[in-house]
C-alpha cells in the first residue's frame, strides 16, 4: 500500500468545461451589450435631430415616443390581464384538478398553441377574430358607451387594441401556463398535506400552499409572457388600427400603436433620420423591458424571507 494519493490540482478538463459554460454566459451578455450599443449609437441622430424632422412634427422626440410607449405598455398589460388569470386557471386545472392520467394530454394541447407562428396569429386575427368581435363591440358601445373604456364611436372593423390584446393573450397563454404548471407541480406535498390536514378544502389548500409557494415562479412566468407581448411585432402591425393617440378606449378605431408594431409599419418606407427615430423607439422599448423586469425582481425579492424556497 505504497501508492500515494496522486496529487493534481484542478483537472484541465473540468477547467475547460466550466470555462466554456462561463464563456457562453458572457457571450450572451456580450450579445446583449452589442444590441444595446447598436440601439444607442443608432438612436443618437434622432435624439439630437430637430424634432420637426420626425414623423408628424412633434414638439420633441419624447412627444413622438410617448404615445407609442403608452400603447406598448397598454396593449401588453391588457394581454397580461387576460392571459394571466386564464393561464393560472389552466395550470391549476392541469396540476391540481384534472385527473392525473389525462393531465399530461391536456398540457400537450395547450402547448400546441405555442406551435402557432405569429404570422398565422396575425392572419387569424384579421380574418377571424376581428370580424367575429365587431358585433360584440357594437353592443358594448351602444349599451355601455358611458363607461370611459367603451366610449363611442365604435370601430367598424373590430381591429381595436382589445382585439390585439386578445390575440397577444392567446400567444402568451402557453408560455405562462407551461411554466406555472411546472411550478405548481413542484409544490412540496408536505405543505399541501399540512393544509389538507388542517381541514382545508382544495381551494383553500391552493391558497395556503400552492400559490404562495409558486409566487416567485408565477411572477417570472408572467414576466416571460409580458416580454413576449411587449415585443410582438407582426400581430400588432397586421391586426391593429393605430393612430398617434394616448387613449384608454378599448373599442374604437383610434388606438395607440405599439413600438414594435410601429417599427414594422414605418420601417419599410423610412429613410434618413426617420430610420434613426424608429431605432430610438426600439431603445425605449428595451428600457421599458428592463424597468419592468427590475420591478418584478424587486417585488419577488422583497418578501424573500417568506418565499417557498426556505
Amino acid at each position: 500500500m505504497t501508492a500515494a494519493i496522486p496529487r493534481a490540482k484542478v483537472r484541465p478538463a473540468d477547467r475547460i468545461f466550466s470555462g466554456s459554460t462561463l464563456f457562453a454566459g458572457v457571450l450572451i451578455l456580450a450579445a446583449l451589450a452589442a444590441v444595446a450599443l447598436f440601439l444607442i449609437v443608432q438612436s443618437i441622430p434622432a435624439l439630437v435631430a430637430d424634432p420637426a424632422e420626425l414623423e408628424g412634427s412633434p414638439t420633441s422626440f419624447w412627444a413622438y415616443v410617448a404615445p407609442l410607449a403608452f400603447g406598448t405598455v397598454w396593449a401588453a398589460s391588457l394581454a397580461l390581464l387576460i392571459a394571466f388569470p386564464l393561464s393560472i386557471g389552466i395550470a391549476l386545472f392541469i396540476s391540481h384538478y384534472a385527473p392525473r392520467r389525462i393531465a399530461q394530454g391536456l398540457g400537450y394541447i395547450i402547448d400546441l398553441l405555442a406551435a402557432v407562428p405569429s404570422v398565422v396569429f396575425g392572419l387569424w386575427g384579421i380574418k377571424v377574430l376581428a370580424p367575429f368581435l365587431t358585433p360584440f363591440y357594437d353592443w358594448l358601445v351602444t349599451n355601455f358607451g358611458w363607461f370611459p373604456l367603451f366610449a363611442p364611436p365604435v370601430s367598424g372593423t373590430g381591429r381595436t387594441v382589445l382585439t390585439v390584446a386578445i390575440v397577444l393573450a392567446v400567444m402568451i397563454i402557453p408560455i405562462i401556463t407551461a411554466l406555472s404548471r411546472e411550478i405548481f407541480l413542484q409544490t412540496p406535498r408536505l405543505h399541501e398535506e399540512a393544509a389538507l390536514a388542517l381541514g382545508a378544502t382544495r381551494l383553500e389548500m391552493i391558497q395556503m400552499a400552492v400559490l404562495p409557494f409558486g409566487r416567485a415562479g408565477i411572477v417570472s412566468a408572467a414576466m416571460l409572457g409580458l416580454g413576449r407581448a411587449l415585443g410582438e411585432t407582426m400581430v400588432v402591425a397586421m391586426v391593429l388600427s393605430p393612430a398617434v393617440v394616448i387613449s384608454f378606449v378599448l373599442t374604437s378605431s383610434t388606438n395607440p400603436s405599439t413600438i414594435a408594431g410601429n417599427i414594422a409599419l414605418k420601417f419599410p418606407d423610412a429613410y434618413g433620420v426617420g430610420v434613426n427615430a424608429l431605432i430610438a423607439t426600439g431603445l425605449i422599448l428595451f428600457i421599458i423591458t428592463l424597468v419592468i423586469n427590475s420591478i418584478a425582481r424587486f417585488v419577488v425579492n422583497r418578501r424573500k424571507a417568506f418565499s417557498g424556497a426556505n
Binding site: T21, L22, L39, I90, V116, V120
Partner: protein, 362 residues
C-alpha cells in the same frame, strides 16, 4: 386485541356528514343555465330579428351556471364549499376558454390551407410562377436551414449558460446573466433583425446584405434566452443525490454534468428547445430585413437571399397579383405547413423525451 364493544350509536345520524349537493346537481345546473340562456337569446332574437348568437348564449349560460352553482352551494353547503366549487368551475372554464382560439385557429388554418396542400406545393418553388400554381419548396428549405442553424447556435450557447447558472455560477455575474436573460426575452423581433442587418453590413461592407446566416443569427438572439430559461429550470430539478452518486464514484464534475445531469433532464431540455424553435420559426419581420425575399431556390446560407415560410405567408398575403385567391391559398397552405412542422417537432421532442428520459416505474 379486537374490540368487543359494539358501536352504540349505529342508526343515529353521522355527525361527520355535512349537507352536500347531490352529485348530479352540477350537471343539472349547467344544463338548466344553458337552456335558460338559449331561451332568453331565442326570445330576444324573435323580438329584435337579430341573429341567434350561440356564443352569446353559451357565454351567458356559463356565467349563469357559475352564479347558480355558487348560490345553491352557498345555501346548502356553506360559504367555503361554495367558493371551492366556484373556483373549480372557473378553473375548468379557463381551460375550455383556452381551447376556443386553439380550435378556431386549427379550423381556420386547415380549412383555408387544404386547398393548395398538394404535391406541387411541396415540390416547386415560386420561380417563374405568376398567378396560380407554384409551391413553397424554396421557403420550406429556407425555413429549415435558417431555423436549424439558429438552433445549432442557440442550443449550445443557451444550454452551456444554463449549466453555468445551475452548476457553477453563484456570484454577481450569475445574477447579472439571469437578469439580462430575462431582459433579452423582451427584445422585439424586428430589433433583432435590424441589429443583425446592421452588424453584418458593417462586417461585410455590403449595404444591401441579405443572407440566410444573418437570419439565423437574428433568430438566435430571440431563441437563446428561451433555451437558457427552460434548460435552467430543468437542470435545477435534477436531484442532487444523482450528482453526489456520481461524485462519489470518482467522476469529475464535468463528466457528471455531461453524462448524468444532462441525460436525466434531457426530456425537459428538448421540450424547452422545441418551445424555443416554435417561438422563432414563425418570425417574419427580422427575416424580411436580413434574409430577404426570393422566388427561387437557394441552399446556400452564406450567399444571396433565401426564402422562409413566414415571409412567404406574409408576402403572398400582402402583395398578391390580380388573382388574389391563388396567392391567399398559397399563404394559408404555407401557414398550415408551418404549423405542421412545429407540431412534428413537438412530436419528435416527445419521442426523444420518452426514449431518453429516466425510466421509472417498477
Amino acid at each position: 386485541m379486537t374490540t368487543t364493544l359494539a358501536p352504540a350509536t349505529t342508526g343515529i345520524t353521522n355527525t361527520l356528514t355535512a349537507s352536500r349537493l347531490p352529485k348530479w346537481a352540477t350537471w343539472a345546473i349547467l344544463g338548466g343555465s344553458l337552456a335558460v340562456a338559449a331561451g332568453v337569446f331565442a326570445i330576444v332574437q324573435l323580438s329584435t330579428g337579430g341573429d341567434f348568437s350561440i356564443v352569446g348564449a353559451v357565454f351567458f349560460g356559463t356565467v349563469l351556471f357559475n352564479i347558480m352553482l355558487f348560490a345553491l352551494s352557498y345555501l346548502v353547503e356553506g360559504g367555503r364549499q361554495a367558493r371551492n366549487r366556484l373556483v373549480t368551475s372557473l378553473v375548468v372554464t379557463a381551460f375550455l376558454i383556452a381551447l376556443i382560439p386553439l380550435l378556431s385557429l386549427v379550423w381556420t388554418v386547415l380549412g383555408n390551407g387544404i386547398a393548395r396542400f398538394d404535391p406541387a406545393f411541396f415540390s416547386q418553388s415560386m420561380r417563374n410562377v405568376v398567378g396560380e400554381g407554384g409551391g413553397a419548396l424554396h421557403a420550406i428549405v429556407g425555413t429549415l436551414l435558417i431555423t436549424g442553424t439558429a438552433t445549432l447556435i442557440s442550443v449550445p450557447v443557451g444550454l452551456l449558460t444554463a449549466i453555468y447558472l445551475v452548476e457553477y455560477g453563484h456570484g454577481a455575474l450569475a445574477r447579472a446573466i439571469t437578469f439580462f436573460v430575462d431582459v433579452m426575452t423582451g427584445i422585439p423581433s424586428i430589433v433583432a433583425g435590424l441589429f443583425a442587418f446592421a452588424f453584418f453590413s458593417l462586417i461585410t461592407g455590403d449595404p444591401g446584405i441579405r443572407f440566410g446566416f444573418g437570419g439565423a443569427v437574428a433568430l438566435s438572439l430571440l431563441m437563446t434566452p428561451v433555451v437558457v430559461r427552460s434548460s435552467e429550470e430543468m437542470l435545477k430539478i435534477v436531484p442532487n443525490e444523482l450528482r453526489e452518486a456520481a461524485y462519489a464514484l470518482g467522476v469529475p464534475k464535468w463528466l457528471t454534468i455531461l453524462k448524468v445531469v444532462i441525460p436525466t433532464s434531457i426530456a425537459g431540455i428538448t421540450t424547452g428547445v422545441t418551445l424555443a424553435i416554435a417561438r422563432v420559426i414563425g418570425e417574419t419581420a427580422p427575416l424580411l430585413l436580413i434574409a430577404g425575399f426570393t422566388s427561387s431556390m437557394n441552399y446556400d446560407l452564406f450567399n444571396n437571399r433565401i426564402m422562409t415560410l413566414p415571409v412567404f405567408v406574409y408576402t403572398q398575403y400582402a402583395t398578391p397579383g390580380t388573382d388574389v385567391q391563388a396567392y391567399l391559398d398559397r399563404a394559408w397552405a404555407a401557414a398550415l405547413t408551418l404549423v405542421l412542422i412545429v407540431m412534428a417537432l413537438n412530436l419528435i421532442a416527445r419521442l426523444i423525451a420518452k426514449f431518453f428520459s429516466p425510466k421509472l416505474g417498477r
